[in-house]
């Protein structure tokens, strides 16, 4: 299985924060398509695999955690 997580505004738009996919998706791009029913990719979408930033071609394997989220906005004014 692959664990998929969404954060912040993206989590709210999609109406879910996590889901489990069978491990047939082999890249971050494929995980996005599978997890969102082929939703268009938001501008500046970020992704992480196993807690590390990743791009859409990053390979994904069984047991991985894949996260999608908007640009980060922490820190100071």
């Amino acid at each position: 299985m692959i664990t998929v997580r969404f954060f912040a505004g993206l989590r709210e738009q999609l109406g879910r924060d996590t889901l489990e996919l069978p491990s047939t998706a082999t890249t971050v791009r494929a995980v996005w398509a599978r997890a969102t029913d082929q939703a268009p990719v938001p501008t500046h979408l970020l992704a992480a695999v196993n807690l590390e930033y990743a791009d859409f071609d990053t390979p994904v394997a069984d047991g991985d955690e894949v996260a999608f989220f908007p640009p980060v906005t922490g820190g100071a004014a």
Binding site: F7, A8, H44, L51, E52, V72, T73, G74, G75, A76
Partner: protein, 149 residues
């Protein structure tokens, strides 16, 4: 190093004092310069005055990124002590959002390393702010500058 998250309101100065005092005598005697940055929640004004922030993070990844930013900064400048602490959860105006500080022999390294901590956290660490306003509305803060991917 003092690196991590705080889930409740905290005062930044005791944290900085602790970090300074945590150095052994030789380390402390070698430090001539400490630059410390404290970011706090601004309220703004008028009907869109922000009365509360929600600071979401990615448990696991956020802590890992903070630690990496800290160690990378220590590798790039001759730093003897470092603080990088970020608030998460529900935040009220005036409360501390981030404390970043660097101690070094000389001021150039301390200033540069501290600034680097602040900028890198802002652009790379997985935090997201949602503003709750006086008029009852709420919105996710959108980044002025996209983070690296």
């Amino acid at each position: 190093m003092i690196v991590g998250l705080r889930e409740t309101a905290f005062a930044p100065w005791p944290l900085l004092a602790d970090a300074a005092q945590a150095m052994d005598a030789a380390e402390r005697a070698g430090c001539g310069a400490n630059d410390a940055f404290i970011g706090t929640m601004r309220a703004g004004g008028g009907a869109t005055r922000v009365v509360r922030l929600q600071l979401e993070h990615y448990p696991g990844m956020t802590e890992r990124m903070l630690m990496r930013i800290a160690t990378d900064t220590g590798a790039r400048w001759p730093i003897r002590q470092l603080v990088l602490v970020h608030r998460v959860g529900e935040v009220l105006p005036g409360e501390t959002l981030i404390v970043a500080a660097a101690w070094s022999a000389h001021r150039d390294a301390a200033f540069a390393a501290c600034r680097h901590l602040v900028e890198t956290v802002k652009h790379q660490a997985p935090f997201w702010k949602r503003e709750f306003r006086a008029d009852g509305s709420a919105a996710w803060v959108t980044a002025n500058t996209p983070a690296r991917m």
